[in-house]
């Protein structure tokens, strides 16, 4: 199937919600679900994934330019929203890839209905409770200063530093919306659904759980617990990447996913 080599950004009504969607490339659809920091159309990972797939990368309601009606208030709501989105766009045999909060959404989709899903990729995914009640599995991003947060999020925190004063108004608006929307869906229980872990056994498609080896916001052991709850899943670490491997190591991230979908084990996989 021929596809567009350049990204197309459009607003599409899904369940009556104006939703910003980036599409690029052709082939088997790949639904990319972004993390809590939002999605920038210029992110190199999008073009890399679009080399082999028809990339569909929406901004979650409340992020980017997507609307946030009051009735969408939980990740459970988002999961049903994305099942509707896949139906509305008639995505078949879809590779669903989610990073961090996007990974949580992807898992919540897959426990409900995998009829349009061929493969699932959970990268540094939030969403489950692993430790005891006094152990916070996921660092409290709302209780940290920017430098403290960067230390936890990135293998190379210095490279991730941003000068807010130099950013365009639209990007600042997107940042502010991302922060608010992250709290809307993930404030309490903090970035997880206490029910999710026991429901992961329902996932019946090939699943890859991958993790930045330097993720200090959510440690790789959490990812291993995720993988252990999904029968037949694979677990892989991504070198020189933290919590957002799609941003820090877009090439290895994309290679890992494309090879997983092709059925090729890679050197990064350690299982």
């Amino acid at each position: 199937m021929a596809g567009s080599a350049t990204a197309d950004i459009s607003l599409v009504a899904i369940d009556g919600v104006q939703t910003e969607i980036i599409t690029q490339g052709g082939g088997r659809p790949l639904l990319f679900l972004h993390p809590e920091c939002g999605l920038e159309a210029s992110a190199p990972v999008l073009g890399l994934l679009a080399k082999a797939h028809r990339l569909v990368a929406p901004s979650h309601p409340g992020f980017g330019r997507s609307e946030a009606p009051r009735w969408l208030s939980t990740v459970d709501d988002l999961a049903y929203f994305y099942l509707d989105l896949m139906a509305a766009l008639d995505l078949q045999d879809t590779v669903v890839v989610g990073v961090s909060m996007g990974g949580w959404i992807a898992a919540e989709i897959a426990i409900k209905n995998t009829s349009r899903i061929s493969h699932l990729v959970l990268a540094d995914a939030l969403g489950i409770k692993v430790g005891d009640r006094e152990t916070r599995d996921i660092a409290d991003i709302f209780a940290l200063t920017e430098p403290e947060l960067a230390e936890l999020l990135y293998a190379d925190p210095a490279a991730a530093r941003r000068d807010l004063g130099a950013m365009a108004e639209a990007d600042l608006v997107a940042m502010a919306r991302s922060r608010e929307a992250s709290a809307r869906y993930g404030w309490s229980p903090y970035m997880h659904d206490p029910k999710l872990k026991r429901r992961l056994h329902r996932i019946d498609v090939p699943t890859l759980v991958c993790w930045g080896e330097a993720d200090r916001m959510v440690r790789p052991a959490y990812g291993q617990a995720y993988a252990a709850a999904i029968a037949g899943s694979r677990f892989a670490l991504i070198e020189r990447a933290g919590h957002f491997p799609h941003l820090e190591q877009p090439q290895s991230f994309a290679d890992l996913i494309l090879n997983f979908v092709r059925g090729k084990p890679t050197s990064e996989e350690r299982r």
Partner: protein, 397 residues
């Protein structure tokens, strides 16, 4: 004019080694319960003195902080209901959007109203940002929760014909039927605070008392927003008793002594904002537009305090003179303080409730009582006589 005596019931012994945050994360090991007990009893003693001197009383609550030991207004109100006789008991405020259980809030407040024989004034507030990490209420829905809790509490206080049902967005009850019901009918007067015109207009349409803090000579604009909406909704001008203003107050026989006390009272604005930075702006607490403005301004909020001649003043760093110039503090001899208060009332176009922080920080019991006594004997009678700019209009309406 009514005058309310207020203290945050601070714990200043812990103010010196705070490592950047007096709130949320300051370990409670820094509080000695024996010293806290002495301080609580002292603050109650001073409110008793205030009651005898003819003041009304204002109380509040904050959480996990050395700036304010009162973590539940209900305890303070319960004590004051029994040990004071005449004072109106204003809670400003009760952060109802943070409370998990508005039924409990309605029951507690009604009980206070009954025990005090109808002296309760109910101030409901959004709360400062630093309440969010402690209560864990989602800041994105905070105002929605606030209004649902408000609607519920008013309904619970005014429904007298048996249980009603409540299945709201945030709260669910099947058999609401509070005992006791409030002493005042239909319910104790409602107050709230605001810093923006839209909220001021909302309060005006409800007819509630609106109070501000630290707005200085920018207060007039907020009051006028209220007045306009009040006139439209109620068909008469808003009386001065619809407005409250929280000011720092220090009085003494000499100006030099008053300035010394003023420095002690100024310790409130100088410590109030010492908070670990991430807790100053929880997600969703401010609008997206306000957050964008904040990011452009390197995280510094726009100043909201102004002097009469238009200079901006930072409450956290201002000198006593600047606080006086901005109408944030009334400080001096009784004559000077009377003149400052009247000048401020004129600038507001009428102000019926002076909420005075007459104690803060390390101010001693003796200084506090002396300042309260001087004000009560030499300033309060003149302020009771004082005819407000809005008062004639209200009497004629």
């Amino acid at each position: 004019m009514r005058i309310f005596q207020f203290t945050e019931q601070p714990y200043p012994p812990a103010w010196n080694e705070h490592n950047g945050s007096l709130r949320v994360i300051l370990p409670n090991r820094k509080l000695d319960p024996k010293i806290a007990a002495d301080l609580f009893h002292r603050y109650y003693d001073e409110w008793q003195v205030a009651d005898e001197l003819g003041y009304d009383i204002m109380v509040n609550e904050h959480h996990s902080t050395a700036t304010c030991m009162s973590s539940t207004v209900i305890v303070t109100l319960a004590v004051l209901s029994r040990i004071t006789r005449h004072a109106r008991l204003l809670v400003l405020g009760y952060p109802i959007g943070h409370r998990p259980d508005p039924l409990r809030a309605a029951e507690e407040l009604s009980t206070i109203d009954v025990i005090s024989r109808g002296r309760l004034e109910m101030g409901f507030v959004k709360g400062v940002p630093y309440e969010v990490p402690v209560s864990n209420a989602n800041p994105v829905w905070l105002m929605e929760r606030f209004w649902e809790a408000h609607d519920f509490i008013i309904k619970a206080m005014t429904a007298h014909d048996g249980p009603f049902n409540w299945e709201g967005e945030h709260f669910h009850y099947r058999h609401v039927n509070i005992w006791p019901r409030p002493y005042q009918q239909p319910h104790p007067p409602v107050w709230s605070t605001t810093g923006n015109a839209a909220q001021a207009q909302e309060l005006a349409r409800l007819g509630y008392v609106m109070a501000t803090l630290g707005t200085g000579y920018a207060t007039r604009g907020l009051y006028d927003s209220y007045r306009q909406a009040y006139q439209e909704r109620w068909g008469k001008p808003a009386a001065p008793d619809r407005f409250g203003y929280l000011a720092l107050v220090a009085v003494a026989a000499t100006e030099a002594e008053a300035r010394r006390r003023g420095e002690q009272v100024a310790s409130y604005p100088r410590t109030s904002g010492i908070v670990h930075p991430p807790f100053r702006n929880p997600p969703g607490f401010l609008s997206v537009d306000d957050n964008v403005r904040l990011m452009k301004n390197a995280g510094r909020p726009p100043s909201r305090s102004f002097t009469k001649d238009g200079r901006t003043v930072s409450m956290a760093t201002a000198s006593v003179q600047e606080l006086i110039d901005a109408g944030i503090m009334f400080c001096g001899t009784p004559d000077q303080v009377y003149a400052q208060v009247v000048d401020f009332c004129q600038s507001c176009g009428g102000l019926g409730n002076l909420l005075m922080m007459g104690h803060a920080g390390w101010m001693s019991h003796e200084d506090t009582v002396d300042s309260l006594t001087l004000f009560a004997k030499e300033v309060m009678p003149r302020l009771k006589e004082y005819r407000q700019p809005g008062e004639q209009a209200s009497a004629a309406a």
